[in-house]
Amino acid sequence: MENNHPIVEKIRSAYPQVAESIKVQRENRIWMKIDYADFRKFLEFAASDLKTGIFCMLTGLDDKENFSFIYHMADLNGIMLNIETSVPKTNASIATVTDMFPAAELQERELTDLLGVAIEGLPEGQRYPLPDNWPDGEYPLRKDWDESRLEKNPLKEKAEDCNV
Amino acid sequence: MILSLIKILIFPGFLFVFVLALAAEYADRKLYARMQTRIGPPWFQPFADFVKLLSKELIIPELADRTIFRILPLVACAAVAAAFLFIPVYNPESLFSFKGNIVAVIYILTIPTLTYFLAGWYSRSLYSLIGSMRVLTQMFSYEVPLLMAVLAPGILASSWTFSEVIAFYGSKGSLFCINVISFVVAVIAVQGKLEKVPFDIPEAETEIVAGTFTEYTGPLYAYFKLAMNIQTVSAAALLAAVFMPFGYNLGFILGIIIFLLKIFLIIVILAVVRTIFARIRMDQMVMFCWKYLTPLALLQILINIIIKAAAAQ
């Protein structure tokens, strides 16, 4: 699409390795994938050079072997850049982006609670959104999780056990 | 002996005050509701509420001081009802008259405010604690202008006794209109004393639940509510006697009617103020009382002193 070209061109010239994955779905919607190793630098590039500096949403996905994360970034003119990256489940840990986008805090906590992804560098704080007495090691948004698991690993009953 | 007992217990004493207080609450609620395009309660609602609260379970917080927690509502009720006995109703003489009883009434009317503070303090609850702090802070801001405003008419009359103030203005035609500034100040300050919008800061529902009364339930809360209603009536009667000193020598029936009309007028004013304003913040309240109300009350006193000096010459 015409009006997205400047951004796509910029990405292509700065990060030729991701050129393959760029997909312009329709006006104002750009999708792309990037290796986690390059991700952080790209995010800074997107925020400063591409001007897509508004953090909208962080989606966590359970992709069988990997955990994928889509960072939905917007700019002031309605363009939405969706940056997908992934880490293997065996090493489910990503670095926080709250130093750049404080708005990401709750959504990163959500990843910890619901997918069991460790977020490095996220300051200590209240858990979100599961209840305090939720059993350890149960991550409801994983594909292999269902309600029956709570029968084996029920909600905690004592207040002392809860991690607030 | 029996006659004075009847006077204390029935008319114009406690029973009359009780009925008048409930009627005042009804008038206030109904007016407030009608001005908000609601229908409002039926006439017996305040009484029904009172009876219902009396029959409710009483819960006292574990950490609260049980004796004081129980005594305070009764102290508040007794104080406001006692204050009413000193205010003239249909004749210039109040039930118990002595020199300087205007000052005495103002002081007795301060007691319930102190019990609200103590009630919050001894409830040992966070919301009550903050509420009681606010009660005290608020008292320090409205009490001074209220005192000055209520005493100002007495300066012209050279007396702070109800009967003498009434007699003085009664002989001077429409001279009482001169006190209109202090009347306005007094009405606003009374709004603060009664803890109603815009000065309902100590019990701001959306901030600190019910302020000092958060932990009060059942009968004890009923007494507190009754105390507040009697306080409304007593304060209105006080303002009526001091600022509208007419119609006291017209006999029993006419006297009562005029008295009730005056009370009703003041309740209407209070209800209108309640309807058209939002609650202000503590710091704004303190600022307002000291910056506007106190100078205005001082101005009234100054005017009265000048007039008195001019008349003496």
Partner: protein
């Protein structure tokens, strides 16, 4: 006062209509710190969506929130329709926008009342909520429901708007416009409102971007962002409206923006009614949605609503993720409350128009242990009263079948 007080506002508090917890650390009457805890309304909607067909998800998503039900449903459908490549007829788009704007009106009027209540101005609450009934009745007339309108279906809308209904809408708009002008007058002229709202909950434009404030909260801080203008979804590309913003950056600004948006909404609805094109209401939609992904944005009354849907070729989505506007705005609350007063806490919280059930979503009640049947609950209460109060309620008969 040297000792610090920590005042819990929530999870249950008269100022909050929904459970959320704000622990306010006080120094005297001043706020020193605020700790936000959310998650009390977590119902598992995202997980539940993965196990249900799209058709059911639509109704589930609608129940994410009581006030902006149409927003969430439309936002979700837009994503699904984009994946399926459905071309929605214009009339359907118009009707979606129309209901969306009416929802905005009812939400903003509700907010105005709630905000007035928070600052102890109950008269305004009674007035606005009375007028809100007009729009609620209108919504009931058009869709059959006061909330959860369920007017959307995959591929269009389910209900048309007749000529007679058009007239009723226009008539209601005139009444509401008149009333809103009065409220605009009240909020700008009434002195105690101004005193309580201005300079309260200040959020600088820089902080607004950093904390991700959206919708009226952001627009009151000079951020002129409105998804209706940026993305031109539904029929918003075909109507004229201006993005209302304000440079007060405080609660007062947020109130002005909402009142301004009310006026815009009336004008948008009039234009939509006037231009309503004559096309079919819906296109046939497949049950199985081809694999793909889409992101959809929607300007809900409270701000930008974002839905992400990934489809895997079956009739159930692979992943549904949604971000309600409150999630973006609530993080700015602690910034707004720095150095504020306790009295301001509730109005500042209310000023972002929080909707915690939108925010939290997720987790279906599944655990057998803490869930009680009616009988168990009754037994428990009888035992409790016997033990703690010495009252025996065993003989009390219930007015229903056991």
């Amino acid at each position: 006062m040297s000792k610090k007080l920590v005042i819990p506002i929530g999870p249950q508090h008269p100022a909050l209509k929904e459970p959320a917890s704000f622990d306010v650390t006080l120094q005297g009457e001043k706020v020193e710190n605020i700790l936000v805890k959310l998650g009390y309304n977590h119902r598992g909607i995202e997980k539940a969506c993965e196990s249900k067909p799209y058709l059911h998800d639509l109704y589930l998503i609608e129940r994410v929130c009581g006030i902006c039900s149409h927003s969430h449903a439309t936002c979700f459908l837009q994503a699904v329709e984009e994946i399926a490549g459905l071309n929605i007829p214009m009339r359907a788009k118009y009707i979606r926008s129309l209901i969306g704007e009416m929802e905005r009106i009812h939400s903003h009027l509700l907010w105005l009342g709630v905000a007035a209540h928070e600052i102890g101005f109950d008269t305004l609450l009674m007035y606005t909520w009375r007028d809100r009934e007009i729009i609620m009745d209108l919504l009931a007339l058009l869709t059959g429901n006061r909330v959860n309108y369920a007017v959307n279906v995959l591929g269009g809308v389910r209900k048309d708007i007749s000529e007679e209904e058009k007239g009723q809408i226009l008539k209601a708009m005139d009444v509401l416009e008149e009333r809103t002008k009065y409220y605009a007058h009240v909020t700008t002229e009434e002195i105690t409102i101004k005193k309580r709202l201005s300079k309260v909950g200040y959020l600088s434009p820089e902080d607004a971007v950093k904390m991700g404030a959206v919708g009226p909260t952001g627009r009151a801080s000079k951020i002129k962002r409105d998804i209706r203008a940026e993305d031109k979804y539904a029929a918003y590309g075909e109507v004229d409206f201006k993005v209302v913003s304000d440079d007060n950056c405080d609660v007062y600004g947020r109130a002005l923006v909402r009142v301004g948006e009310l006026m815009e909404a009336y004008s948008i609805i009039r234009q939509l009614i006037k231009k309503l094109p004559d096309t079919p209401l819906k296109v046939p939609a497949p049950l199985k949605i081809p694999a793909g992904e889409a992101i959809s944005r929607y300007e809900a009354p409270r701000g930008e609503d974002v839905h992400y849907v990934r489809a895997n070729g079956t009739d159930k989505p692979e992943r549904v993720k949604l971000r309600a506007p409150t999630l973006a705005n609530v993080q700015a609350v602690s910034t707004m409350l720095k150095k504020g007063y306790l009295a301001d806490v509730t109005i500042v919280i209310a000023a972002i128009d929080p909707c915690f059930s939108c925010t939290d979503r997720m987790i279906i009640a599944v655990d057998g242990k803490s869930e009680m049947t009616w009988k168990q609950l009754r037994e428990h209460s009888i035992n409790w009263y016997k033990k703690n109060r010495g009252v025996d309620f065993t003989k009390v008969k219930l007015g229903m079948k056991e």
